[in-house]
Subunit: 244 residues, 2 copies
Amino acid sequence: MRYKLTVEYDGTDFVGWQRQSNGPSVQATIEDALTEMHGGLATIIRGAGRTDAGVHALGQVAHFEGAGNIPLHGYQRGLNAVLPRSIAIVGAELVADDFDARFSARGKLYRYSIWTAPTRAPMRDRYVWHLRREIDVARMQEAANHLVGRHDFCAFRASDCERKTTTRTVTRLAVARSSDLVTIEVEADAFLKNMVRILVGTLCECGWGKRTPADVQQVLAGGDRRRAGITAPPQGLALVRVDY
Amino acid sequence: MRYKLTVEYDGTDFVGWQRQSNGPSVQATIEDALTEMHGGLATIIRGAGRTDAGVHALGQVAHFEGAGNIPLHGYQRGLNAVLPRSIAIVGAELVADDFDARFSARGKLYRYSIWTAPTRAPMRDRYVWHLRREIDVARMQEAANHLVGRHDFCAFRASDCERKTTTRTVTRLAVARSSDLVTIEVEADAFLKNMVRILVGTLCECGWGKRTPADVQQVLAGGDRRRAGITAPPQGLALVRVDY
């Protein structure tokens, strides 16, 4: 039987979602706990997306196969009892056999948080990019509006991104300020490697005056990663939700 | 010359505000940095209040004496450059020679945060008490209203609290819910040891039905710590502001 897990995590101390040899990953931590619950039967989970080292999630989704002898709340409570406090299973559901956390996803919402006060904020520091510059949120939103829609986001992906197609549909890209905290929410059907972090870096360069909104539109049209902005650091990013 | 610092910190990894021999304290960390800035001249800072191990602050206040040869922004930037990311100096001011961070304080605001969802929230976990019970916020507010005003808070202090007078004036005690997050804000002229955490524990026992609001009033009148509720854990507590 196939199960869907919704997972929240603080990515600070992980090498990322994906199992890797160089340190603890969220995927491996959950797989090891599931394997233990399955009496040693190696269990693989497949996530909706691979978050980078240091990136967080409020609603990552993963699926796995189980024998059907453990109830849903047994999975949720059992996993939460053994997982570190930095990971929590916030939902468990039975799904159809053809459900795939990655390929069944219709879209995702990411949120990027920027702390704009002159000094860092220790109680937020794990979850924000501390940017010591004034940024103009209205100007960032104007640039963001050029990116909404179906476009080739080739200029906004990591140089080692291996996706064959680079056209994605951004359905929402909203920049908002609440006192010293600026948040950028991005919804799209799918994302390229580092796409949100490069979008954020580019929008911020626009916000502090290094670029114009028209320039951001030209970067998109040009398709050249080298013309886009910096890659914003991972800790400001959280995968909020996956839609199916 | 006398300086006033406003300090934010994530208390998770500290033994508390006060310098102690059993581990790193916020006070000692700042004092060591100031001593270094003062060319090795031992510098003592005095805080407005001693937060317990694991308790946070958005606006702790401390004062110290300096020779007057370092500008205010030099203190702020210099300290922030060497302090760990878990501590930040968010303000520095010159004050009169008779300013005392502790004795000049007219009041303080503390905020206690409670996470009431069935599963823990990894991205909030360092800053909340995860209470796996339904709590009735209206009932807690009704109990809280009995505690507002000038009262003897003898029942709401740690058994090893050494204060001679136990009468305090609580000017505001507000319980609020925002989806799964319940916050309790307490303003008073001064606080006894563990007073906020015992108030919170007692209000929560009221919220989950173990006590009535009238019972909380009787606990206050009785003055017996053993009749009050549990001491809520430290990580949900933050010193928000000190008023002068």
